[in-house]
Subunit: 337 residues, 2 copies
């Protein structure tokens, strides 16, 4: 495989953090005593749910536009495609910098995400499929607009990395970090940040079993692409494939872990119950996978789970709450000595 | 009406705050820019959702037990009845102080609240009705246990008042404060605190239309008692009647406002969407009523809304999300000049 890009130096994430810091929230690290008692481990959650626009995606979008501005290359127009949180992030960042934004959103994208994107000041255009959204974005970028790719962009990856950068500053001695993996921007950012601040930390990508393209890519060493948008409830990781750029780092992770839809819903209910914040299924996915990893450990571990966002459609809320998983307390993994 | 108690001096709330401060969280004041833009007013939320035990009730329970301890009267056993958050609070406070607690909970109480009460270390006994829970509590207290009443207790009222006490410290120039009114502890506390720190602030009690005993009591000047537990989704205010003690202060409020079940659900969805924290219907009730009041104002107002808790059963979640209210953006009340 030929790579036609320069690997991101770890310092780039530090710079990204200084750059975007004035415009983002330092989201809190949360934990639940009762959960830690149950598990016999220490789980720390980075609550990007409480980030501006309700998700970590604002970090990548802002880093991209602010970097371009610093270089005197602030575009006259930006364009993006996304099924959700990235769209809102680009809309918000573009409006903040006074640049008009056009967002192509597949019709199946969550309605509240569509609404919010428009509310943040972007022109929202619906498309029939993700493929069409991607194609029309390319078209507009050929006409001169700057396309902010959701993950295949070093500035975006560096921006997303600032979430784990803050988390590693706030929590020392982390044995492992768990991140949901869609296109891989956040996960690559976590990998790079761990190298910089916490090189002993194991980094894991987390995927729904029914959208496990990255896991299969990792296992086979070649990028696997899904034929159709997977129907997982974790709508933030419905991406068809990772990119060459993200796969370059993803190959170096300690592993990928998969979770079933029931496991994702289980942790969506439990984390919203224990932490009292809105937890997207995509965020709960990281805990579901972290739990599986913890279940295999014989000694007490300290782990970080990135809660990526809190934008949930009423329709998805109905799916989440159709069974009562709160009746089933998480199984104790390790007895406290 | 003869009152057989000494009115609470406003200083008592200040003392309560110093007493419980080391054991509770200073919960954040939250707001939503977009909501404020829509309404043309400033709405600040005191997020007791993020309080220990997931609700403000820990304040009253802790103030009661810590006060008794200071007086050298720490009881050997405590007992309480509650359909939810008060039960958890008493369980938690009693365990903290090393006192065994028995809680009588009506069978219809939210299952997660029952679970959590047991988890905090209390002995939980289910009863067929709220009346039976009340009777058995009385029985046990006659045998020597100290009964912590959910609202008919000065120490509890003073404790609950510390929520608004903190809010008034954090937000200046508040025109009105909105509190859900069940038995009236929180609302009385808000009234007393406003007298102490913000005497120009109007204080309103908020009730579901289908559980409007306090509103009718306020209107008629006599305590109205509901015959049966009302079926409102706002399970924190299903109380049958206020007490003489709370009514003494409630009569002095600026008013009571009622909300329909749809209005309560509407704001439950919208606040959880905008603030990204778990909002109990009982909390959303205060916003529903605040919104109605704001709709009648001709000038820009700054208001406080007490978000009382975030403990929601999966069954209630299903009820909350069965319709999609997020399609309907709140109506603009006042154009920003």
């Amino acid at each position: 495989m030929v790579i036609d890009f320069e690997p991101i130096s770890m310092e780039v994430i530090k710079d990204a953090h200084s750059r975007i810091k004035p415009f983002i929230k330092r989201t809190p690290i949360m934990s639940s005593n009762i959960l830690n008692q149950w598990l016999g481990h220490e789980v720390f959650f980075k609550a990007e749910t409480l980030q501006t626009t309700g998700a970590f995606k604002i970090r990548g979008a802002l880093n991209t536009l602010l970097s371009l501005k610093e270089q005197g290359k602030l575009p006259k127009q930006v364009v993006a495609f996304s099924s959700g949180n990235h769209a809102q992030a680009v809309a918000y960042a573009a409006t903040l910098l006074g640049v008009p934004a056009t967002i192509f959103l597949p019709e199946f994208a969550s309605k509240i995400k569509q609404q919010a994107t428009a509310r943040y000041g972007a022109k929202v255009i619906n498309t029939k499929s993700r493929q069409e959204a991607e194609a029309r974005t390319l078209e507009l970028s050929r006409e001169g607009a700057y396309a902010i790719h959701p993950y295949d962009n070093d500035l975006v990856i560096a921006g997303q990395g600032t979430a784990s950068y803050e988390a590693f500053q706030d929590v020392a001695g982390v044995n492992a970090i768990f991140t949901p993996c869609g296109g891989g921007g956040l996960t690559c950012g976590a990998y790079l940040t761990a190298q910089l601040l916490s090189p002993k930390t194991k980094v894991f990508g987390c995927e729904p079993l029914m959208a496990n393209d990255a896991t299969r890519s990792y296992q086979t060493g070649n990028i696997v692409k899904l034929a159709d948008t997977p129907k997982t409830i974790a709508d933030g990781v419905r991406t068809l494939a990772v990119s060459e750029r993200t796969f370059y780092y993803l190959k170096k992770l300690n592993g990928f872990i998969e979770a079933t839809e029931d496991e994702i819903v289980y942790w969506t209910q439990w984390l919203s119950h224990l932490l009292k914040i809105t937890v997207e299924p995509t965020s709960a996915l990281a805990m579901a996978c972290g739990y599986k990893w913890l279940a295999e450990q014989n000694t007490k571990q300290r782990v970080l789970v990135l809660l990526t966002g809190g934008n949930i459609d009423p329709e998805t809320e109905r799916l989440i709450w159709q069974n009562d998983w709160l009746q089933k307390v998480p199984v104790k993994l390790l007895s406290l000595l």
